[in-house]
C-alpha cells in the first residue's frame, strides 16, 4: 500500500496547501466532496460522518470520548487533516466543532441524492454512431500511457508523446535536457522513482504537475480540480457530453486525452469517454498495470503486429489488474536475483538497485549487494519502494511457495490454538492499530527484506528535526504530565527526564501549549 498512500499524501498535501477561499469553492461541487472524503483517513471519515447529520456544533470532548484512549495520536492526525482542509471549524472557545457549511450541505445532498443538476457529468442520451467498448478504452488508455513510459526509458517505438506531455515531464523534473526536442531529454533520478510507482500514483504525480502548469496559464484551479474529481466518479464505458463543461474544462480535454485519461474521437466531437485510468483515480483498485507489464505488452504487440485487434494485446489490456500476474522476478535467500524478462524498462529499473551480472536472451541474473542498494538509496529511492517493486513483480512461483507456507502456518496455529504471528506464542499479540496480529503473506524472503531495510537505516544515523524545546519545568510532576501528553498524541521527538526538557514537532507545539494552558 505504500505507494498508494504516497500518492494520497501528495494529493492531500496539495489540497491542504490551497488557500481557504479556493477550498470553499471546491466544496461547492458534490463530486469533489465525495472524492475528498474518500481520500481521508478512516478516523477522519468517522468524525465527518458523525457530524454530518447533526445540526448543532459537536463538542470536541464528545468526539474525544467516543474514541478509545490509546488512539490519541490517530485523533490528533485526523483533526489536523480536517483542519488543514478547513472541513471543520472551531468556535471561539475551541470546545465545539462544526463542519464546513458548504461541504456539509453538498455531501449530505450527495448521499441523499438531491443535489443540483449536472453534478456528476452529463451522460449522452443518444447512441453514438462510433460506439466504443470498454476493451477499446482500456487499450487506448494503456497505449497512451505506455508511450509516455517508453519514451522515458528511451525505447524506440517510433511514436513520441505530444508536446504538452514533454513539457510536463520536464517541468516535473522527471526528465531533463536542453530544449523540448524529444531526443535531447534524459530521464532523471526522480524519473526512475516515478517508474517504480504504480500507475495510479504516477497519474496523480502527473496531474499535480498539470495543476501547477494550469495555474501559470491562469486557468481556474477550482475548475480544473473539480473536473479531475468528477472524472473519478464517472462510469467506464459511458459517454458524456462536452457541452455541459465549462470553457476551462473543454480546454483540458485535449491534454487529458494525451495522458490517456479520456477518449474523444476527434477534438470537435461532442462527447467523451472516461477511461479506466480516470475512473480509478480516487479508488485503490489497480488501474491498468504496472510499468513492466505495460512494457511486455508493448513488446508483444510490436513483435506480432502493430494493429489494434491483435487478440493477445486486447487480452492483455482487458486483464487490467491481473497484469502483474506475469511477475518475472525470483529472489533467493542468498540475495541472488533472476528476472525472466527482456524488457528494457524492467531491466533499467532493476539496474537501479541490483548488481546485474549476466544477460541471456530471456532473462537477467544479478546480485543484491550492500553497494547496489546504497547506490539506489543515495539516489533517493527508498527501501520501501524497492521492496514493493520486488513484491509486485515476484514470479508466480514465489507467490505459490509463499502461499503454501502461509497456509501451513495458519494450520499450525489453528490446530494448536495459538497465535504465533507476533512472534510471542500463546498470547494475543496486538499490532500497531490494536488489531490482533495476523500472518502475512511473505512473498520475498524475510532475510532480504530486513537486510534492505537495515541498509537504509545505516544511512539515517543522524536526523534533523525542526521543532520546539520545552524546558524550565517547576517540578518533575509537571514535566511528566506534559511530556506524557506529547507522547500520547505522537508529537514528542525527544525527552530527558533528568534535565526536564523535551522537544516536540512544530505541528504539535500548538496542541501541547493549549494543553498546558488548559491545566
Amino acid at each position: 500500500m505504500s505507494s498508494s498512500t504516497l500518492f494520497k499524501a501528495t494529493v492531500n498535501e496539495h489540497l491542504e496547501n490551497l488557500p481557504k477561499p479556493i477550498q470553499s469553492k471546491l466544496y461547492e461541487a458534490p463530486a469533489t466532496c465525495l472524492s475528498i472524503y474518500r481520500l481521508l483517513p478512516p478516523m477522519a471519515k468517522f468524525f465527518i460522518m458523525s457530524m454530518l447529520f447533526h445540526d448543532k456544533p459537536v463538542a470536541y470532548k464528545d468526539l474525544e470520548r467516543i474514541c478509545k484512549p490509546h488512539t490519541k495520536k490517530l485523533q490528533f492526525e485526523a483533526f489536523n487533516r480536517l483542519k488543514a482542509l478547513h472541513l471543520i471549524d472551531e468556535d471561539q472557545g475551541r470546545s465545539h466543532l462544526k463542519l464546513h457549511p458548504i461541504f456539509k450541505q453538498n455531501f449530505r445532498d450527495c448521499l441523499t441524492g438531491s443535489q443540483a443538476s449536472n453534478a456528476f457529468g452529463n451522460l449522452c442520451t443518444t447512441a453514438d454512431k462510433h460506439q466504443v467498448d470498454v476493451k477499446f478504452l482500456d487499450q487506448f488508455a494503456s497505449q497512451k500511457w505506455e508511450t509516455i513510459l517508453h519514451f522515458m526509458v528511451g525505447t524506440e517505438l517510433g511514436v513520441d508523446p505530444s508536446k504538452s506531455v514533454l513539457s510536463l515531464l520536464k517541468l516535473g523534473g522527471l526528465m531533463e535536457g536542453p530544449g523540448t526536442s524529444p531526443r535531447n531529454l534524459k530521464i532523471t533520478n526522480e524519473g526512475f522513482q516515478f517508474l517504480l510507482q504504480d500507475v495510479n500514483a504516477q497519474i496523480w504525480t502527473f496531474l499535480l504537475q498539470y495543476l501547477n502548469l494550469t495555474q501559470d496559464l491562469n486557468m481556474d484551479p477550482v475548475d480544473v480540480l473539480n473536473f479531475i474529481f468528477i472524472l473519478g466518479s464517472l462510469e467506464l464505458g459511458k459517454s458524456y457530453t462536452v457541452s455541459s463543461l465549462s470553457a476551462t474544462q473543454v480546454s483540458m480535454l485535449a491534454d487529458l486525452k494525451d495522458y490517456g485519461l479520456i477518449y474523444q474521437r476527434s477534438d470537435s466531437s461532442s462527447r467523451f469517454y472516461p477511461t479506466r485510468l480516470a475512473t480509478t483515480l480516487t479508488s485503490e483498485s489497480a488501474a491498468l498495470r504496472s510499468p513492466s507489464a505495460a512494457m511486455e505488452h508493448a513488446l508483444q504487440s510490436t513483435t506480432t503486429a502493430e494493429d489494434g485487434d491483435d487478440a493477445s494485446a486486447i487480452q492483455n489490456s482487458v486483464s487490467a489488474g491481473i497484469a502483474s500476474a506475469q511477475g518475472t522476478v525470483i529472489i533467493e535467500t542468498n540475495f541472488k536475483i533472476y528476472a525472466y524478462t527482456n524488457s528494457p524498462l524492467e531491466i533499467a529499473v532493476l539496474n537501479l538497485f541490483v548488481n546485474l551480472k549476466i544477460r541471456f536472451s530471456n532473462m537477467v541474473c544479478g546480485q543484491i549487494t550492500r553497494e547496489s542498494i546504497r547506490h539506489a538509496l543515495l539516489n533517493g529511492i527508498t527501501a520501501d519502494q524497492i521492496i514493493r517493486f520486488l513484491e509486485t513483480h515476484a514470479h508466480p512461483q514465489m507467490r505459490l511457495l509463499a502461499k503454501e507456507k502461509l497456509d501451513k502456518k495458519i494450520e499450525f496455529d489453528t490446530s494448536h490454538n495459538i497465535n504465533t504471528a507476533g512472534g510471542a506464542p500463546q498470547s494475543q499479540v496486538y499490532g500497531e492499530n490494536g488489531t490482533v496480529a495476523q500472518h502475512k503473506l511473505e512473498v520475498l524472503p524475510p532475510t532480504v527484506v530486513d537486510q534492505i531495510k537495515l541498509w537504509q537505516l545505516e544511512l539515517d544515523r543522524i536526523q534533523t528535526f525542526e521543532g520546539y524545546l520545552f524546558k524550565d519545568f517547576q517540578n518533575q510532576q509537571e514535566y511528566d504530565y506534559l511530556s506524557n501528553y506529547a507522547q500520547e498524541i505522537g508529537v514528542l521527538i525527544w525527552g530527558d527526564k533528568v534535565k526536564k526538557k523535551f522537544f516536540v514537532t512544530p505541528e504539535g507545539m500548538d496542541q501541547v501549549a493549549i494543553f498546558a494552558n488548559r491545566k
Binding site: Y37, M49, F53, Q115, N118, A119, F120, A286, L441, V443
Partner: protein
C-alpha cells in the same frame, strides 16, 4: 487499515410490524417511508467510504427472504433512466434497484402469507452464503492476480435491522447461523427499531463481537446508523461502539420451543429441554430413573419453567443458558455438572 469491506444488511420487512411502528401513538413513530430514506442514505454512506466497498441487502419478508440488492449484480444491470446526471451513479443504481425489488417483493405477498412468520433466518443464512462466496472468490483469485496485498479480503459484516419479535421456533437455525458467522469471522450487528428486546439477536451480536442497539429514538435512526454501524471492523477497535450492558443468554428448549430460564441438557448431545425427560428426543439416550426423580424433585424449587424477566448474565464471557445436565450412568462426573453450551454445536470458540 483503510481497506475495502463488505456489508450485508438484513432488513426486516414485516408489514404488520411496520404498520405498528409507524403509528402516531408511539412516542417516536418511524413510518416505513422515513425508515427507507434513512436506510438508503446509510447505504450510500457505506459506498461513499471506499470505492471498493461492497454491499448486499436481503429482505426478510413474511414466510420468505429475498435478495434486494447486491453490488455484484448491480454492475450487470442496465439502468432504465440514464439521463440523470444529478446523482453519483452508484448511489443512483443502489437506490432505484432497492426500491424496485422491494416493491416487487411486497406486491408479490398474498394475504395468506402476511400472517406467516418472518423469514429472518433465511435472509441471515443467505447473507452468510453470500459472504462466504465473496471472501472465497477474493482469496482464490489473489493467488493468480497477486495484487499488492495478496491476503486482502473485504472485511465482512452483517447488520440486521429488526422490528419483529423473536420467533421461538427459529432458535436452532439462528444459533447455527451464529456459529457459522463465528467461523467465517463475520461480525453481526443488530439494530432493533421496534418490538420487544430480541433474545436471539442479542446473543448473535454478543457472540460475534458486534453491537446490539435498541433504539430509544427510532426517528433518529440515521444518526445511530452512521455512528455505530458505519465504521468498519478495523476502526471499531479504536472507537467505543456502544455495546449491551447485559445480554439475555436464555435458550429455547428443543421440545416446545419455549424460551427457558432453566433448562435440562442431555449430557450426550447437549439438547435442551424445559423439563426432565426419560429419553432424549434427539439422540435417543435413555436416562436413569434415579436422576430423573432427583431432578423432578428439585425442579419446582429451582425456578418456574417460563419467566419473562431477562436473566442478567453473571459472567458474559462464556456463560450460556444456566442449565442442569441430566445424569447418565456412564459419565458420572457429568451427573450434576452445570453444562454451559447452547446446543449440539456448542463449540463456541471465540
Amino acid at each position: 487499515m483503510d481497506r475495502p469491506n463488505h456489508l450485508s444488511v438484513v432488513v426486516d420487512l414485516s408489514p404488520s410490524q411496520w404498520y405498528l411502528c409507524g403509528q402516531p401513538s408511539n412516542a417516536h413513530p418511524l413510518p416505513l417511508a422515513a425508515f427507507l430514506s434513512q436506510l438508503l442514505a446509510f447505504l450510500n454512506a457505506h459506498i461513499a467510504c471506499n470505492d471498493e466497498n461492497t454491499l448486499s441487502v436481503y429482505g426478510a419478508l413474511p414466510g420468505r427472504s429475498a435478495l434486494l440488492y447486491s453490488s455484484a449484480s448491480a454492475e450487470l444491470s442496465e439502468l432504465t433512466d440514464p439521463a440523470d446526471s444529478n446523482t453519483y451513479r452508484q448511489f443512483k443504481i443502489l437506490d432505484s434497484t432497492m426500491m424496485k425489488s422491494m416493491s416487487e417483493q411486497v406486491d408479490a405477498l398474498s394475504d395468506l402469507e402476511e400472517e406467516s412468520p418472518i423469514g429472518l433466518v433465511g435472509s441471515l443464512t443467505k447473507s452468510l452464503c453470500y459472504i462466504n462466496r465473496v471472501t472465497n472468490v477474493s482469496t482464490s483469485s489473489t493467488t493468480t492476480v497477486g495484487s499488492d496485498e495478496p491476503t486482502i479480503r473485504p472485511d465482512p459484516r452483517i447488520l440486521i435491522i429488526s422490528v419483529s419479535p423473536d420467533e421461538a421456533a427459529s432458535y436452532i437455525p439462528v444459533m447455527n447461523s451464529i456459529f457459522s458467522a463465528q467461523k467465517l469471522k463475520v461480525t453481526i450487528d443488530v439494530c432493533k427499531i421496534y418490538g420487544p428486546e430480541s433474545v436471539f439477536l442479542q446473543q448473535a451480536a454478543h457472540l460475534t463481537g458486534g453491537s446490539y442497539i435498541f433504539l430509544d429514538r427510532p426517528d433518529a435512526l440515521l444518526q445511530y446508523l452512521t455512528m455505530t454501524f458505519l465504521p468498519p471492523p478495523a476502526l471499531r477497535q479504536l472507537i467505543s461502539v456502544p455495546t449491551q450492558d447485559k445480554v439475555d443468554f436464555r435458550a429455547a428448549c428443543f421440545c416446545h420451543k419455549n424460551i427457558v430460564d432453566i433448562g435440562f441438557v442431555c449430557s450426550v448431545c447437549l439438547s435442551i429441554f424445559c423439563q426432565p425427560v426419560p429419553v432424549c428426543s434427539t439422540c435417543r439416550t435413555k436416562f436413569p430413573i434415579k436422576t430423573l426423580q432427583r431432578l423432578n424433585a428439585s425442579k419446582p424449587a429451582l425456578a418456574p419453567a417460563r419467566s419473562t424477566a431477562p436473566v442478567p448474565s453473571p459472567s458474559p464471557a462464556n456463560s450460556l443458558p444456566r442449565s442442569q445436565a441430566i445424569g447418565l450412568p456412564r459419565t458420572t462426573s457429568m451427573g450434576n455438572g452445570i453444562s454451559a453450551s447452547p446446543g449440539r454445536n456448542g463449540a463456541s470458540t471465540r
